[in-house]
């Protein structure tokens, strides 16, 4: 479990957001968000529901278009290219290429139900990265072993527990050898007794030096694993710091009242 399988730049900033705005109709969900994630660090995003934390995460791999602002991963603009003083939206094909370098883990797993566990993990490396199937399958098998599901490779997802499905989803995201992994409330849809096994996998991943952004409500986990903690409120980053700073010495009343509710 100790060998990191992720490509990552030796140093520097992996994710950079600047002045990101996003509105859904009349509702402005993101109101000027700045963010920098250093290579090899874990950033945990906290906030009440509706604070914009999931939307923020989804702008990083362009699942959500932004109305204004800049999103960069490894120094490359995501979803747009510079055209003079403007940003021109990229074609879907180019966006898909960019996404194949960013892992994304969903709250509801979103495994492909008609494909076996192994086929789920192999699909993107073969079709998006044009890797050889035999090679991709060997790597997928190794990843499934890493998340403790080596014996489930021929099962269909619906026959697995929620915790097992989420571990497959993590293996599927890692199969792309991403330089960055995004987690959108990875344990929120799980029965309480299954949360631990998923957090263990994410913890191992963090220990292996992966760069990650995690939206979660698991405060204990955040305190243990996070290098940086962000607290979002009404579409802005209200507070940011180390876990000790944010959890033990919150500067804002909003942060304090939120922590009082979830701790």
């Amino acid at each position: 479990m100790s060998t990191p399988t992720l490509n990552r730049p030796a140093s520097g900033v992996v994710v950079r957001l600047e002045g990101v705005h996003k509105r859904f109709g009349a509702l402005e969900v993101l109101r000027g968000v700045d963010l920098a994630v250093a290579a090899g660090t874990v950033t945990v995003v906290l906030g009440a529901s509706g604070s914009g934390k999931s939307t923020l995460l989804r702008t990083i791999n362009h699942l959500e278009k932004v109305d204004a602002g800049v999103v960069e991963v490894n120094g490359e603009l995501i979803g747009y290219k510079r055209a003079g003083n403007h940003l021109r939206e990229l074609h879907e094909r180019e966006v898909l290429r960019q996404r194949s370098e960013i892992g994304f883990v969903f709250q509801h797993f979103n495994l492909f139900p008609h494909l076996t566990v192994l086929e789920n993990v192999v699909e993107a490396p073969v079709s998006a990265q044009r890797r050889k199937r035999s090679e991709a399958e060997a790597e997928a098998q190794a990843l499934l072993e890493r998340v403790g599901l080596a014996d489930k490779s021929d099962e269909y997802p619906r026959r697995l527990s929620g915790g097992q499905q989420q571990r497959v989803a993590i293996a599927r995201a890692l199969a792309l050898k991403p330089s960055l992994v995004l987690f959108d409330e990875p344990t929120s849809a799980l029965d309480p007794e299954l949360v631990g096994e998923v957090l263990d996998v994410i913890r191992d991943l963090a220990a292996s030096g992966a760069t990650m952004v995690v939206v979660t409500h698991e405060i204990g986990f955040a305190r243990e694993v996070a290098d940086r903690v962000l607290f979002m409120h009404e579409g802005v980053v209200l507070e940011e710091g180390t876990p000790t700073e944010v959890f033990d010495h919150p500067r804002h009343e909003r942060t304090r009242s939120f922590l009082a509710k979830v701790l």
Binding site: N61, L63, E92, R93, L96, R97, Q98, R99, S100, E101, I102, F104, F106, H108, N110, L111, F112, P113, H114, L115, T116, E123, A124, S127, A128, Q129, Y156, P157, R158, R159, R172, A173, L176
Partner: protein
């Protein structure tokens, strides 16, 4: 509350046996009313069978005489052709219409919407007559520059023979229905599936072919099966163009021989046989696309009946012991 249940010891004591717990056999619940219902249905089925067999008015020997006759088999083949071509045109065009309807372009959406509403509103028999009489409306059909010169022209009189009119009429009518079925199949897919495929960077055509289509087909196939069976029987309306398909042909024969009932029975038997074949095909296709969704493998109903009877026979000696 007895002492035993409260202390939680094995329930063997209330049963009054000295056997260890493992030896107590579990028997399935008894369902006497199921047996009553089974008997009642069996009696009605026997009565219906008797009425079919013993009444001489059905003229079973005549049925046997015509069932495999050359004219009937030829007309049967035409019915099969009409069904296959109608389904093929309908499925291809229906899928295109469904994709247009789901596109973001309002003009494409509108065209698809208009097509579906027109072809669903006009009765099939009327549409067939329009196609049949196309030559009255347009003398020639040409290919060339839109609104400009034409390179190839065909006389509609020659092009739209009755058979072509039937193929077109059935196919274009069916396309309107298939379009709605295909669309509902795609709408039923969890949006999370699209997002996951997009987040993994899977190329767009591959997303459609490998992720979306198989999941949509799970919804599309059962309804499509019904439509194809409907179309098979619906082909009988082309008799108005004097095409010698099954229904037209039996009418020709009974007008000649006067044996109306047995010939109608011949047609009914063949429609039943074809429908049964289609149902079996549908069952296998459904099982293929249902993989990963059913915890238990589905079983053909008649096989299940056979297995239940066999299992009951195998159990009998044990019960009597």
């Amino acid at each position: 509350m007895s002492e035993t249940t409260r202390t939680g010891t094995a329930p063997s004591a209330p049963l009054g046996t000295e056997k260890p717990v493992e030896a107590v056999k579990v028997l399935p619940a008894r369902h006497p009313w199921r047996w009553v219902a089974t008997a009642a249905v069996a009696v009605v089925a026997a009565m219906a069978g008797n009425a079919l067999v013993t009444n001489p008015a059905w003229e079973w020997p005549t049925v046997g005489q015509f069932l495999f006759s050359a004219t009937i088999l030829q007309s049967l083949w035409l019915t099969v052709q009409l069904t296959i071509v109608g389904t093929a045109i309908g499925l291809v065009l229906g899928t295109v219409l469904a994709l247009l309807r789901m596109s973001k372009n309002p003009l494409l959406q509108g065209v698809s919407f208009a097509y579906i509403s027109v072809f669903r509103s006009v009765p099939l028999i009327l549409q067939l007559l329009f196609w049949f009489n196309l030559a009255i409306l347009y003398k020639t059909i040409g290919f060339g520059v839109p609104f400009g010169p034409q390179f190839w022209t065909f006389s509609t009189q020659n092009l739209i023979a009755p058979l072509t009119a039937a193929f077109l009429g059935l196919g274009l009518h069916q396309a309107a229905y298939f379009a709605e079925i295909v669309r509902s199949g795609f709408l039923a897919i969890d949006p999370g599936q699209r997002e996951a495929a997009a987040a993994l960077g899977i190329p767009q055509f591959r997303q459609f072919w490998r992720i979306q289509l198989p999941q949509a087909l799970r919804i599309i196939v059962p309804t499509t099966g019904n439509e194809v069976i409907g179309l098979l029987k619906g082909t009988s309306v082309v008799y108005i163009m004097a095409l010698p398909e099954l229904f037209y042909q039996v009418q020709v024969v009974y007008n000649r021989t006067g044996r109306v009932i047995p010939l109608l029975l011949v047609a009914a038997i063949w429609y039943f046989v074809l429908t049964t074949v289609l149902s079996v095909v549908q069952w296998f296709v459904e099982r293929h696309y249902g993989r990963g969704s059913d915890r238990h493998q589905a079983e053909l109903p008649l096989l299940k009946l056979a297995r239940t009877v066999l299992a009951a026979r195998a159990r009998r000696p044990e019960v009597s012991r």
